[in-house]
Amino acid sequence: MSFLPEAYSSVAGDVFGLFKVILFLTSFWFTVSIGALFYGIFTSLKKQGGKAKYLTGDDWAQSKWIWIPLVLVVLCDFWVDIETAKVWTKVEIAEAMPQSDYEVKIVGRQFQWEFTYPGPDGKLFTEDDVQIADGNDGELVLPVNKVTKLHLTAADVLHSFFVREFGFKQDVIPGRILTRWVQPIKEGRTELLCAEICGSNHGTMRNWIKIVSVEEFDSFIKNLNSGSVAMATEKK
């Protein structure tokens, strides 16, 4: 489906693949059901002197025509469930989260995203963390092919971390830090949206994600820690 965006993360392909499985199954059942409906209508239009069949559907000989399709629907339901569980487990379940050396804290605030990287000690949630708070121009820089842990939270109201090309979305909640992860698979620049209504300027809440090579990322962190990054940053 060309309508879905280009996949920039290791799981986006799985998420979009789920769409294709469900599209296949639902298209099949839609066609069968609505086809049956119109077949029923056009073969049963009123005829002069005609008599309708007295079919109550109370015995198996008649009702099997809906019970058997129903069982098939249930089987398809389980198919969807199994495919869903595979993708969901891979992306969301903590036990399945891959190991990572990189982490970043992401804060939603009316109406921008802020990013905090580890300071010189290489650890997040310590005194020397460096924050990038640059309005809607602030960029979340991520290394390509590496797993980065995302510690997501909000400063004021609910927001939702949404990156189309990652096939991923997570609401962020004030007072809670949710840990998810991302593994970008190609370099580039994508938009970071907010997908939860967060006030009057919800419609302008947009930041950027820049996916760079590991070398570039390392020098970005180095510059960040020496305070020489061009963008407005704030030591904290």
Binding site: K53, W88, R164
Partner: protein, 562 residues
């Protein structure tokens, strides 16, 4: 209640205790609000298609105004249009008549129910006049935003009560009180006032569905009221139920909201399926296929409806392991509805089908609701919902469920029972025109949104100017087409109003039973007098005995005839 004497104008039309007039009051109020809610939608759709346009009456929309219109569009359409029309209006009209009763069990309570409803509507209107305008937090009213927007913690509680957000909570609470009173009447009447000989399985499907909807509403509304009271207290008494800084939890509200919010979908869906279950047998001249199983499946769906709520919260920050449970219950609830839809479709086979206007709307309901139904599977799958949640895919999906429910099934019922209610038939030509324009409008409006939703267009955004990929030409085209679709839906309803006015004055006289149906409402005069039946009817059989070979001479067998 034996003496039904002449009534004064006031007691007949205004302070009426007659279930038929209360039904008309509810329906009329609902239609007026549906129109207001529809115009809200046209206004913000115009902003989306032509950003910065000076919309008639509301002016140029900024983020706040846009959010306010979106929020109240949803609120109005659900609580002041869908519920009064499909639950209160329909239920009040058909339940006593179909059961062969002279009125509801508690007529005075019934009147009270409507008047509380009207007060709730007035409080809603008042909320727009509060400083800062109406609530603009999304209809889900998620705190902390909904707990703080427009609130000044240093002011006294009256100042904070006099805000759009607080008044909206009050309005919704009053509306719920009204629907609860009405619901008590539905249940008591259906259990105690059935015609002599009418067994539970002889009760028509639509009455079953209305009662199941009522039960779902009653069981789910309590937690929401608790949640809403806490939200109101956060706003006016500066409590911190949803404020994490003071030990509160915003996610708590989401659970309380959706514990109600999901069954609420079935509160309007079940009556819609009920309407279609009456109309399809009447116009195919066949028994409703597997009608007992339809009832059993509807009962089971009403139960399962109570344990699917968190599928609205897959990405809200709940424990991801919980999502797998709710993904499974969500998929399970598709089983009873798949059965019901299959059974209704099976009813068409071997019939003598006449596609009169009510049947046209019923077929429209089946086809378009199916689109809404199957696209629900995408969102019920937690893995894909992670992407599609809060995009236009969701908007397209639920408009393909709610427009078929409220417009297609609701109007099917309206065209079907209008002759009973007024004694006159609605015009067929205008009816067809109304149907086709609405159908074209729905598909122009909602279908393209699936594609922009798939591309990731997120909702509740007043202008996409900040998002380069979402300003692509094809998405701009989709916004235009969808807006034209919304305008066509609204304009199509003018044909409907014209039809009602012309037909009420000059329509063909209906007689007692214009569609040759079996259920008891068709035994009464059209319109039924105060007290409904001259002699209380008895019931000898189920409601769907069409074309029964044991009956000679006619293809229907009214429930009251031996």
């Amino acid at each position: 209640m034996s003496a039904h004497h002449e009534q004064s104008f006031l007691s007949k039309y205004v302070f009426s205790t007659d279930h038929k007039y209360i039904a008309k009051q509810y329906t009329l109020t609902g239609v007026v609000f549906a129109f207001i809610g529809g115009l809200f939608a046209v206004a913000f759709r115009m902003q989306l298609a032509w950003p910065g346009i000076d919309v008639p009456i509301v002016g140029v929309l900024d983020g706040t105004k846009y959010n306010m219109l979106v929020t109240n569009h949803a609120m109005i359409m659900f609580f002041w249009a869908a519920m009064p029309i499909l639950l209160a209006g329909l239920g009040n009209f058909v339940i006593p008549l179909m059961l062969g009763a002279d009125d509801m069990a508690f007529p005075l309570l019934n009147m009270l129910s409507y008047w509380i409803f009207l007060v709730s509507a007035l409080v809603l209107i008042l909320s727009f006049m509060a400083p800062g305008g109406g609530a603009a937090t999304g209809w889900t009213m998620y705190p902390p935003l909904a707990a703080t927007q427009g609130v000044d913690p240093d002011s006294n509680f009256l100042v904070n009560l006099w805000t759009g957000g607080s008044l909206l909570i009050l309005a919704v609470a009053l509306e719920f009180a009204s629907m609860l009173l009405g619901g008590i009447n539905f249940l008591v009447t259906s259990i105690n006032m059935r015609a002599k000989g009418m067994k539970l399985m002889d009760v028509p499907a639509v009455v079953w569905m209305l009662n199941l909807a009522t039960v779902d509403f009653m069981f789910s509304v309590g937690p929401l009221i608790a949640g809403a009271v806490m939200l109101l207290f956060d706003r006016i008494f500066n409590t911190g139920f949803y404020d994490p800084a003071r030990g509160g939890d915003p996610i708590l509200f989401q659970h309380l909201f959706w514990f109600f919010g999901h069954p609420e979908v079935y509160v309007v869906l079940l009556p819609a399926i009920g309407i279609v279950s009456e109309i399809v047998p009447a116009f195919t001249r066949k028994p409703l296929f597997a009608s007992k199983w339809i009832i059993i499946m509807a009962v089971s769906s009403a139960f399962i409806a109570m344990i699917v709520w968190a599928h609205h919260q897959f990405v809200a920050g709940i424990d991801p392991r919980m999502a797998e449970f709710f993904s499974i219950t969500t998929i399970i609830i598709s089983i009873p509805f798949a059965f019901i839809m299959f059974a209704v479709i099976a009813t068409f086979f071997g019939g003598q089908i006449e596609i009169k206007i009510p049947m046209l709307w019923a077929i429209g309901f089946i086809v378009f609701f199916f689109v809404g139904g199957v696209t629900g599977i995408f969102l019920g799958s937690a893995g894909f919902d992670m992407y599609a949640h809060d995009t236009y895919f969701v908007v397209a999906h639920f408009h393909y469920t709610l427009i078929p429910i409220v417009f297609f099934a609701g109007l099917a019922g309206f065209y079907f029972w209008f002759p009973k209610s007024t004694g006159r038939m609605l015009n067929e030509t205008l009816g067809k025109l109304h149907f086709w324009t609405t159908a074209i409008g729905l598909n122009m409006f909602a279908f393209p949104l699936f594609f922009s939703g798939l591309f990731g267009e997120h909702r509740r955004i007043f202008s996409y100017a900040s998002y380069d990929p979402l300003m692509a030409d094809w998405i701009l085209q989709i916004r235009h087409v969808a807006t034209y679709g919304a305008i066509i839906i609204a304009a199509a309803q003018l044909i409907f109003f014209l039809n009602i006015i012309l037909s009420a004055m000059n329509g063909e006289k209906a007689g007692k039973n214009p569609w040759k149906c079996n259920t008891l409402e068709w035994v009464a005069d059209s319109p039924p007098p105060h007290g409904n039946f001259t002699t209380p009817p008895a019931c000898y059989r189920g409601p769907y005995e069409y074309s029964n070979p044991k009956r000679s001479g006619s293809d229907f067998w009214p429930q009251n005839e031996q």
